[in-house]
């Protein structure tokens, strides 16, 4: 499905000026590059600070991620200038690349972390991953058993691997992208298809209907 969204407003003067300056030569380009890098770095620092509560990163590492993200976003922006079609302010379009780079850098950091387990199957963590109450195990034990069977019997090897990494081992999707030398869209689609299969399997076994769970 392709959606077309009309932009909020026409191109403002700044947004028209940025691509021209960055595509030019000489001092005007150098000044524009320096100014844009400053903006990107400010946004990158804000973004890593926003995400920091969930990261295994400390102050200097966070700033390093921000610097790397800003630098790589600048490279991406200057190489894709012709793709800017004025559908948003130039800075909004540019900041999007900062977000992508921050995500990629964080994913890479997680990948290098020695505690990360990609393939180990920690099925005992499944109840906790979804927030099932251990005190009510009698109610959900059969359901999660059926879910495990469906994972083993209905999913392809790749779907199973993605499920195990993301759901059981809590591996960030962007980290799995690196591990499998894939891309975010492909991994998401793999998990999307797996989710659809698992729901269908649980429905076929009578655990779930259109109106929700069928608890015994």
């Amino acid at each position: 499905m392709t959606e077309h969204i009309a932009a909020v407003a026409g191109l403002d003067a700044d947004s028209a000026e940025w691509p021209q300056a960055l595509a030019g030569t000489g001092p005007r380009r150098e000044e524009a590059l320096a100014r844009l890098h400053g903006l990107l770095l400010r946004i990158a620092r804000g973004e890593v600070a926003r995400r920091s509560p969930w990261l295994r990163l400390t102050g200097p590492e966070l700033d390093d991620v921000a610097y790397q993200a800003a630098a790589d976003a600048l490279v991406a922006i200057t190489s894709k200038l012709r793709q800017f079609r004025g559908e948003s302010r130039f800075t909004t379009w540019a900041y999007k690349f900062v977000m992508f780079e921050v995500s990629a850098k964080i994913g890479r950091h997680f990948w290098r972390h020695p505690g990360v387990r990609l393939d180990a199957e920690g099925w005992e963590r499944l109840p906790d991953r979804f927030g099932f109450d251990p005190a009510q195990e009698a109610e959900w034990r059969d359901l999660l058993g059926a879910l495990r069977r469906a994972v083993n019997e209905e999913l392809t090897a790749r779907q199973r691997r993605v499920f195990v990494a993301i759901v059981l081992n809590n591996v960030p999707l962007d980290t799995l992208v690196l591990e499998l030398a894939s891309n975010r869209n492909a991994i998401y689609q793999t998990l999307f298809d797996a989710r659809r299969k698992l729901r269908a399997a649980l429905a076929a076994d009578g655990y779930i209907g259109d109106d929700g769970w069928r608890r015994s």
Binding site: M1, E3, E47, R50, P127, G131
Partner: protein, 85 residues
């Protein structure tokens, strides 16, 4: 959210979901519309569905929205989720 509803949410897929590629392509336009208060759920339902379902894309959107609003970091948007399934 208890385990039942969390698992139900995880297993539900929406055929309108445009996927990461298209959502990332349109993220800057979507973020400006959202910042302007436009009814993005109605105007681009497939992107809206995707951003609610996909943790990484949703996180990129939250960050970009914060940047568009000129707040950059700590205020104005809800805190990021630790990890969406």
């Amino acid at each position: 959210m208890n385990g039942w509803s969390a698992l139900d949410r995880f297993l539900r897929t929406d055929p309108r979901d445009v996927g990461c590629g298209e959502a990332m392509e349109m993220l800057h336009i979507y973020a400006e519309l959202a910042a302007a208060g436009a009814p993005v759920d109605e105007r681009c339902p497939g992107v809206a569905v995707h951003l609610r379902a996909c943790g990484p894309c949703g996180e990129d959107f939250e960050g970009l929205l914060a940047a568009v609003r000129g707040q950059g970091s700590l205020t104005g948007t809800r805190a990021p989720r630790p990890h969406r399934l």
